[in-house]
């Protein structure tokens, strides 16, 4: 029985999860949460889920840690002391016991005769070469067999970004200002120490283009290896966010204005749904790419998957940069109003 490496990774995961729960310094907790996400990405690689690992590392460890940190920059860094409550412990134990009871009739971990490996998965694996000729089966299933799911997923990204723009639009609840003003106000506030740091500037100017190039590589490499629209979008956005952090929001605004990003956000979803509607006009059902090319169904599916992944990439890039704009733009509103201190004591 070879020693399961996952055991070690699980050990670290348990340690980091407990650390996140008990650390009262929220910045440290955010960092440990980033470690947790990275470890889970490692675990997914061990479980042969390379696409999920790539996305979890890029989205889970990358973007959610950046978001949590930028929120902590606007809020209090320390959590209040709090006794252990017993009602939640009871609820958690009950739910945990129910789940463990549920696993008793499950096939063992890695058991090849499990029902899920018998029913639908074999057709996906055979179909990859016959219908598509695309080696990465996950991309086939993601974009065409269950392409409607991924359309829903892209719409989830659109919904979240619209929600963030609505909630963080104006600076401070009372003063209503359009998003242009939000970013304007943030751009010309006191220059953060970062922008006078020559080293960071030079390294960013060298690095950002390489990151963008890698993002494009991931976008088109999605058919042959782990990659695809989501990961590419996040990587591309991280290059822009890096530029925004080092050179300040106003220069990022000159590179990609919020208006342009809003249109890009909508354009991605429209490209995706548009590809589906295009197959409607050629009397295939919605999102059926085979009809897109009269000569060969396989070529049609290639084209469909390419367009769909491009749509996803555009939406995710614009979404991540917009969310960064509104969180970072909020820093201008963070100047501690005098009323804040005493209101907390009330």
């Amino acid at each position: 029985m070879t020693f399961p490496i996952e055991a070690i990774v699980f050990l670290f995961l348990l340690a980091t999860a407990l650390a996140v729960t008990h650390l009262r310094d929220l910045f440290a907790a955010a960092m440990v949460f980033g470690v947790f996400s990275l470890l889970s990405a490692g675990l997914f690689t061990l479980m042969d889920a390379v696409d999920v690992a790539f996305t979890e590392a890029a989205v889970g460890a990358g973007i959610s840690t950046v978001l949590i940190l930028s929120t902590l920059a606007l809020t209090d860094p320390r959590e209040h002391q709090q006794p252990v409550r017993f009602a939640p412990v009871a609820v958690v134990l009950l739910v945990g016991a129910a789940l463990v009871y549920g696993t008793l009739d499950m096939p063992y971990y890695g058991d090849p005769t499990a029902p899920i490996h018998k029913h639908v998965a074999p057709e996906y694996i055979e179909g990859a070469m016959t219908d598509f000729g695309i080696p990465n089966i996950v991309t086939n299933v993601l974009a065409s067999y269950r392409g409607y799911d991924t359309l829903g997923e892209t719409t989830v990204v659109l919904t979240a970004t619209v929600g963030v723009m609505l909630l963080l639009g104006g600076l401070g609840g009372a003063r209503h200002r359009g998003d242009a003003e939000v970013v304007e106000a943030a751009g010309d506030e006191e220059p953060t120490p970062m922008d006078r740091v020559q080293v960071a500037r030079v390294s960013t100017t060298v690095l950002a283009p390489l990151i963008m190039l890698f993002g494009l590589y991931v976008q088109f490499h999605g058919d042959f290896g782990p990659g695809g629209g989501f990961q590419a979008g996040v990587i591309f956005a991280s290059a822009l966010i890096l530029h925004g952090i080092v050179f300040g929001l106003s220069s990022l605004k000159r590179v990609v204005s919020p208006r342009f990003l809003e249109i890009g956000l909508a354009a991605g979803v429209l490209i995706y749904a548009g590809t589906g509607v295009a197959s409607l006009f050629r009397d295939g059902t919605f999102l059926d790419y085979a009809v897109l090319d009269h000569h060969s169904a396989q070529h049609g599916r290639h084209l469909g998957i390419l367009l769909v992944e491009a749509g996803v990439g555009i939406t995710v890039t614009c979404a991540m940069v917009l969310i960064f704009f509104f969180f970072a733009g909020r820093r201008a509103a963070k100047s501690e109003e005098p009323g804040d201190r005493d209101r907390r004591v009330a």
């Binding site: 549920g102 009739d105 029902p115 065409s144 067999y145 609505l166 998003d179 956000l265 059926d288």
Partner: protein, 490 residues
């Protein structure tokens, strides 16, 4: 083109939402939203007609057969719920001042309409899909957009209410995802029909029992069934009145539909009521909801919170109808779906008219408005009577079927409890009537709400009376839907 009608039903709101986000013009996006509302009503009506005339419609997406690809399944119940959601959407979207109650930053109206369209797309997508995991995806779309819309309320506590709704909703959604994971592990497929076939032989598997448990708890959280309803009163009370009108009349209804779909299509009534004893759990919770909801509503000082607690009670009626597992019971439950949507939608729109003029929905600010705003107050009273279940209103129809179902199975106690809880409803409706009509008006110069606000309100309130008299559309449809479900289920 009619061959692709199911796809168009979802594409209409799904495509118009990004268009709203891209086009920054408030008026253009407003007109687009209203047009999409009425358009989806027309498409849903046509789909219901097709589903009624023949066998359920199957529409395969992506060109692959069901177990591999995803498919839409539209039977009578699906068409019925699609019509309910798009009717409310059409009327609420054409309400005169949709952005009035929201603390919208300047130049943001186009995103507000985009979020409303995304919520509609999520609800329709959840109703029409025949794939278990796809329900989760569209559940997240409708939930995320409703968190944002609720967080926009002018009340300073709106973000807090939206945050607690987000936490409870996401836990519910993740329980739902866990339930699907257990089902997928046991059956190997995600298509609902395929899953139902394979579950027939798995009634003793503990994985399936736990899967059923987590799916039900997850949906009860989203449906605000009695013990898990804490998020609903704050969410609907703090949100802009128009959003409360839209969500109270559609969101919980679609969650109820998913619960019904899961019980009768995936697991089958024999497994759910026989083996799992679902009715033993659901009946006390429903009765609890009816009494706690109504009692809490009586002591509220804010009109929107009062209506929100009454929603908790009305959801108790629906789940009670479900737990009888009889044609009459299910007919009562499904009919109440449509009736409650009309009543609560109309009442919240009436409150929106009051808030449009007075600026606050606290009861003592609304004193004496009966004289200054006669039409709106009349609308509120009519809606209140329907809530009580006065004959010749829709409320009476669904309570009639519930009592019939209770008497049919010999539970006279339940019939008595249903009537008793209606008396509680009388209490809180009369309390509002007393505030509106028998108190000196605070500010006498309040004018009546403009017609663009009153017309949609009276469309819904009028419907509560019209459908109270001619019941073949609501109760008749609910009955044929119940027969189809139970016929398929047993």
């Amino acid at each position: 083109m009619t061959l692709h009608l199911p796809a168009i039903a979802i594409l209409l709101p799904l495509l118009s939402a990004p268009i709203c986000v891209a086009v920054r013009h408030a008026l253009v996006t407003r007109l687009l939203t209203v047009a999409v509302g009425w358009g989806s009503l027309a498409v849903s009506g046509e789909l219901l007609r097709q589903a009624l005339s023949g066998a359920p419609i199957h529409y395969e997406l992506g060109g692959f057969a069901p177990p591999l690809g995803i498919e839409y399944v539209i039977d009578t119940t699906t068409g019925y719920v699609l019509v309910i959601v798009s009717t409310i959407a059409a009327v609420v979207f054409s309400f005169g001042a949709t952005t009035r109650g929201a603390a919208l930053p300047a130049g943001r109206e186009h995103l507000y309409y985009g979020a409303m369209l995304l919520c509609l797309a999520g609800l329709l997508g959840m109703t029409i899909t025949g794939d278990a995991f796809n329900v989760f995806v569209f559940l997240e779309i409708s939930s995320l957009s409703s968190y944002a819309l609720i967080g926009l309320g002018q009340d300073r506590r709106a973000p807090v209410a939206a945050f607690s709704y987000l936490i409870m909703g996401t836990i519910g959604g993740t329980f739902f995802l866990l339930g699907i994971g257990f089902l997928y592990q046991a059956t190997g497929t995600l298509n609902m029909a395929d899953m139902a076939e394979r579950l027939a032989s798995l009634h003793r598997s503990r994985t399936v029992h736990v899967a059923f448990g987590f799916l039900t708890v997850g949906l009860s959280l989203k449906l605000a069934v009695f013990p898990l309803h804490q998020w609903l009163p704050n969410a609907y009370a703090r949100a802009p009145a128009v959003i409360s009108a839209f969500l109270s009349a559609t969101a919980t209804k679609v969650m109820y539909y998913v619960l019904v779909r899961m019980i009768f299509t995936i697991f089958g009534a024999t497994f759910v009521f026989g083996k799992m004893g679902m009715d033993m759990a659901l009946v006390p919770l429903s009765l609890g909801a009816m009494f706690v909801g109504s009692l809490a509503a009586i002591f509220q000082t804010d009109l929107k919170r009062l209506l929100a607690y009454s929603s908790v009670a009305q959801i108790g009626y629906m789940t009670l109808g479900l737990s009888f597992n009889s044609v009459n019971g299910l007919t009562g439950g499904l009919a109440h779906l449509f009736n409650h949507a009309l009543m609560k939608g109309g009442l919240f729109l009436a409150v929106a008219c009051l808030v449009y003029r007075v600026g606050s929905s606290r009861l003592d600010d609304l004193a004496g408005l009966g004289k200054c705003m006669p039409i709106t107050s009349a609308a509120f009273v009519t809606g209140g009577l329907a809530l009580i279940g006065v004959p010749a209103t829709v409320g009476f129809i669904s309570k009639w079927y519930l009592v019939l179902a209770a008497l049919e199975t010999g539970q006279y106690l339940f019939a008595g409890l249903i009537l008793l809880s209606s008396l509680l409803a009388v209490a809180y409706v009369l309390r509002v009537v007393e505030v509106l009509y028998f108190k000196a008006p605070k500010s006498p110069d309040v004018r009546e709400a403009p017609v663009s606000l009153l017309l949609p309100t009276w469309i819904l309130i009028g419907a509560t009376v019209v459908f109270g008299l001619r019941t073949e559309l609501t109760a008749g449809l609910a009955r044929s839907a119940a027969m189809q479900l139970l016929g398929a289920g047993s």
